[in-house]
């Protein structure tokens, strides 16, 4: 029986190659898109779950003034472990980019300092070395295989020495396998916290991420309640309440401490995957039901020969499953072809391995099964209901219009989904443009940011003087951080502040000429000036900080961060120091070294001959610090990087919107061809009676036009609601312009009508003699 059904299915495909191609191609494209997204989603969901103990690993998260942080007090990990039996093990991870050198080979490496139990908590396997003793000494260092190969090639690195930041010798005690891409912790070296000495054990300054491995029998929720006041018990420097929370390891990647959780994007993409698969299945249903009359005789005859309704239904579901299997094979081929491009787009390293990976095979089988059942069940229901007495007499199904209403509803649904995707794309593009062109209160163009090594830091003034010699260099200044994501918060006090106004602000240490170099506007008072030595103790506030203090005449007022007293000498315009997702933060600028010293040089250069100027900077830096690697970046590029996630999802939306339209049109193409075919005789008669070609084309296209108008009517309000939600994530958002909706609608209609009228034109131009003779 099965072989008979398979044979019929295969021969039907071969006899109606055109329709079969439309069906299978549409389904294949839909499946490929769906599978790609599901691979991406699976990767996102898999983050940090490869650790054997992942379910019992938590991060401690202190909260200050309603904002949560991953940076924890240095002494927290050890103190928690000592005090609570629930904490089996604990480690810190203090992230540091350092320079390592072996002879001539010098590179910057990302990594951090961790505690002895790091490898007992996490499942990062070691290729060489004993995980229990690799961090025995302050100078121990563990390298990734990737890093070890860079410094030592094929040699065994164990026991060898590397120079840290050009000064401190470190001894390699272990080599670990490279960190998997789906780990939120990414590092190529690990050092020991013993390197910090006494300070690492006693300091309550917020520096390192802290991980605890809880007893599997412990109740994490109860334990979190128990330790909630822990920071306040030990750190008496402030009376500000600092609740301590626990975050499960598996939530670090997809749940933000503050603001929108990245898992929102996972849901959005899942919805898109589902949409696209449904759109493809809808094509299948539409073509199968529209063409049901061509199968009517066969169904009737099978029933006469003894088939029950269930037999016939099984046959058509089987055919749909067979088609979706063929489509899946094509889809797998497409994925092999497009996976590299998708990986580049999504910045992932996804791989497709159906044979070797059980869960991928399951995913593939699941998609085949779901789309087969989804697209086969309605046609099966409809076709198996044909009454043999009726269909055999005139060779046509009595309900020739079988499911016409449903088909119309499906087409409307399909195009609604496609239009929503297009609107989403347009809105994202517009929002990104808006961000790019928004006046951020700062001119980032042609500003080179150079991170200072210890060497350059110690020779900062002469280095600054030296580079200023070049006429292509307009201004030089420095600061502790890049003016992008300023985040450390410290309590501030001002003249007239009430004791209840506990306020923290971001304090940023800067050099002279900071505001002029970065194009920031002083709106009151003045900037820091060499002629006033007291400026080293004074403060400049941004407008947001001024607003919070509520001072009406701020200039000359006393102000302090912690206990460092000074006076307010100026107010600078707000500049976006963090992504535009978030509102402006209050910032206090100071020149005092107590706020962390200068770590980045900013050089404003002329737009002409940028490579030449960069080469000059590099040469000059080499004269001052011959052993350093010269690193630099452009501030505007750094700024754009903040929106990489948005741009990435923007372009993914775009590609999938195009795919959705493509698949929908494929279906429409088939439907139009079939409608035209069915109405061949009518068209012939109309032509004989004098109808013009254009008249016939418009007659055939009219129904589809109405469906598309309905699709627009449905999709616009839905899209409006969704986009309004999406944009609410941004503190600064482009208005939802009205033109976007008709633009998306008209574009879709044009493409769809072009598709339909191609078929209509073909039907209209056929010679009526041919079509009438057959009857």
């Amino acid at each position: 029986m099965l072989s008979s059904h398979l044979k019929t299915a295969w021969r039907t495909i071969r006899r109606h190659k055109g329709y079969a191609f439309l069906n299978i191609a549409g389904l294949a494209v839909g499946m490929a898109a769906c599978l790609l997204i599901l691979l991406w989603v699976r990767d996102e969901l898999s983050f940090d779950t490869f650790h054997e103990n992942y379910a019992d690993i938590y991060l401690t998260v202190p909260e200050l003034q309603g904002k949560k942080y991953h940076d924890n007090p240095l002494a927290l990990a050890k103190t928690l472990q000592r005090q609570y039996p629930e904490v089996k093990k604990a480690t810190r991870f203090w992230s540091w980019v350092i320079q390592l050198r072996n002879g001539e080979k010098t590179f910057n490496e990302r990594g951090g300092l961790v505690d002895d139990d790091f490898f007992a908590i996490f499942s990062f396997p070691l290729a060489k070395g004993d995980p229990r003793t690799v961090f025995a000494n302050p100078d121990s260092i563990v390298l990734s295989e990737r890093a070890a190969a860079k410094y030592f090639g094929a040699e065994d690195p164990i026991g060898k020495s590397l120079l840290r930041n050009g000064k401190v010798p470190m001894t390699v005690t272990g080599v670990m396998r490279n960190v998997p891409a789906n780990s939120h912790l990414q590092f190529d070296y690990l050092g020991s916290t013993k390197f910090l000495g006494e300070r690492g054990e006693t300091s309550w300054s917020w520096e390192a991420w802290t991980y605890v491995l809880l007893d599997p029998h412990a109740d994490a929720r109860q334990f979190a309640k128990k330790i909630s006041g822990f920071v306040n018990e030990h750190d008496k420097r402030t009376d500000q309440k600092i609740p301590l929370h626990l975050q499960p390891l598996s939530r670090v990647h997809l749940y933000a401490l503050n603001g929108t959780d990245p898992i929102f994007y996972v849901y959005v993409f899942l919805a898109i995957a589902f949409f696209i698969l449904i759109i493809a299945c809808v094509n299948f249903i539409n073509l199968a039901t529209a063409r049901s009359s061509t199968r009517a005789k066969e169904i009737g005859m099978r029933k006469v020969a003894g088939a029950t309704r269930a037999d016939v239904a099984r046959q058509f579901i089987g055919e749909a499953l067979f088609s979706s299997l063929v489509a899946m094979l094509a889809a797998l081929g497409m994925i092999q072809l497009f996976l590299p491009a998708f990986n580049r787009l999504a910045e992932k390293q996804l791989a497709l391995n159906v044979a070797g990976d059980g869960s991928t095979a399951l995913l593939v089988a699941g998609i085949v099964l779901i789309s087969g059942l989804l697209s086969g069940s309605y046609p099966a229901l409809l076709l198996s209901s044909f009454r043999p007495a009726a269909v055999l007499k005139n060779g046509r199904s009595s309900s020739g219009a079988g499911g016409r209403l449903l088909r119309r509803i499906l087409v409307v649904g399909q195009f609604s989904a496609a239009i929503i995707l297009i609107i989403a794309t347009l809105v994202m593009v517009k929002q990104l443009d808006f961000i790019r062109s928004k006046d951020t209160g700062m001119d980032r163009s042609h500003v080179v940011a150079i991170p200072m090594s210890r060497e350059i830091m110690s020779k900062y003034e002469p280095f600054k003087k030296a580079i200023r010699q070049n006429p292509k260099i307009i201004g030089v200044t420095a600061a502790r951080r890049l003016p992008l994501n300023i985040g450390h918060m410290n309590p501030v006090f001002w003249e007239g502040r009430g004791p209840e106004d506990y306020v923290t602000m971001t304090d940023e240490c800067i050099d002279y000429n900071y505001f002029s170099t970065l194009g920031m506007r002083i709106v009151q008072g003045r900037s820091f000036d060499k002629r006033f030595p007291a400026d080293r103790e004074n403060y400049i506030l941004n407008e947001e900080a001024l607003r919070i203090t509520g001072l009406s005449a701020p200039i000359g007022k006393m102000f302090s961060v912690w206990e460092d007293k000074g006076r307010i000498i100026g107010i600078v315009g707000n500049a976006n120091a963090s992504p535009l997702h978030r509102p402006i933060e209050p910032v206090v600028y100071t020149m005092s070294e107590r706020h962390g010293g200068l770590e980045y040089i900013f050089v404003k250069i002329r737009p002409e001959d940028i490579p030449g100027t960069i080469a000059y900077l590099k040469r000059t830096a080499a004269q001052f610090a011959p052993n350093d690697i010269f690193e630099y970046s452009f501030l505007d590029e750094e700024f754009n990087r903040l929106y990489a996630e948005d741009r990435r999802s923007g372009s993914i939306y775009r590609y999938f919107a195009i795919l959705a339209i493509f698949i929908s049109c494929l279906g429409l193409f088939g439907m139009a061809a079939f409608t035209a075919e069915q109405r061949t005789r009518e068209i012939g008669i109309r032509k004989v009676l004098g109808a013009s070609i254009s008249r016939i084309v418009s007659m055939l296209s009219r129904e589809f036009l109405l469906l598309l108008i309905a699709a627009n009517a449905i999709s616009w309000p839905v899209a409006y609601y969704l986009m309004d939600r999406l944009l609410s994530d941004y503190a600064y958002r482009t208005p939802l312009s009205v033109w976007i909706f008709p633009a998306a609608g008209v574009a879709t209609m044009l493409v769809a009508l072009l598709t339909v009228s191609f078929q209509a034109l073909r039907a209209a131009r056929a010679n009526p003699v041919d079509s009438l003779r057959h009857e």
Partner: protein
């Protein structure tokens, strides 16, 4: 074998109610050959469909092989039908995607006959119909007469007790028509019950009894003299 009482069939559309059959009382004995004649639209095919369990009557009773089947569900009818009834149509109704062999095999598939047994039975009937050289051809590759031979072979292969033929010669020239009628006649001689709808008085001669239908009523029943000598 067949016994109907006051059989009625009414077709309803949105606006009109058409009575296709009215008060049909007909009985067919085992091994009988009955021809049904009448003008187009008189209800011949409707009657055949009901007798063949493809359709239910609107009113009245229908006894088939001792079962009262007029209220049977589609499923029950399908089960009774596949074991007992073979059909031959005017338009052959072969499945284009299946070969000659596969078309003939179809009823056996739905009867869940094992594959060895199936092959044997299909070849047997093909042999008899002289279709062996056409075994792997598709219906479009055959002449009309050949196609109808395939259709008859398909109707026979499960050895049904009853064969219903709806104008089996309607699409054939006279030579091929004669051939099909001779086949049916042979089957009748071997004991198969046959009910055949036809327009042709000449072919009606092959039957033992001719039933004339007009506007859904049985108007006359004639017994063929040559069978009563």
């Amino acid at each position: 074998m067949i016994q109907t009482k006051n059989l009625k069939k009414i077709y309803t559309t949105e606006e009109v109610e058409t009575s296709a059959l009215n008060q049909i009382n007909l009985s067919v004995k085992e091994s009988e050959f009955v021809a049904v004649m009448g003008p187009s639209g008189c209800g011949k095919s409707t009657l055949l469909n009901i007798l063949g369990l493809l359709d239910n009557p609107s009113e009245g009773e229908y006894q088939f092989l001792g079962h009262e089947v007029s209220r049977y569900s589609e499923r029950q009818r399908a089960h009774l039908r596949k074991a007992n009834i073979g059909f031959v149509f005017q338009s052959f109704n072969l499945i284009d995607e299946l070969t000659v062999f596969e078309n003939i095999e179809l009823p056996l598939l739905y009867l869940k006959v094992g594959s060895g047994e199936r092959k044997k039975k299909v070849l047997e009937v093909m042999e008899r119909m002289q279709l062996i050289p056409r075994k792997n051809h598709f219906p479009q590759q055959l002449s009309g007469g050949q196609q109808q031979r395939v259709a008859v072979a398909r109707a026979l292969v499960a050895r049904p007790k009853l064969i219903l033929a709806d104008e089996p010669t309607g699409n054939l020239d006279s030579a091929n028509g004669d051939e099909v009628m001779n086949l049916l006649s042979q089957l009748h001689d071997e004991g198969t019950t046959i009910v055949m709808v036809t327009h042709s008085p000449a072919y009606a001669e092959y039957a033992q009894r001719v039933v004339h239908l007009f506007d859904g009523h049985i108007v006359t029943e004639n017994f063929n003299q040559k069978f009563h000598v």
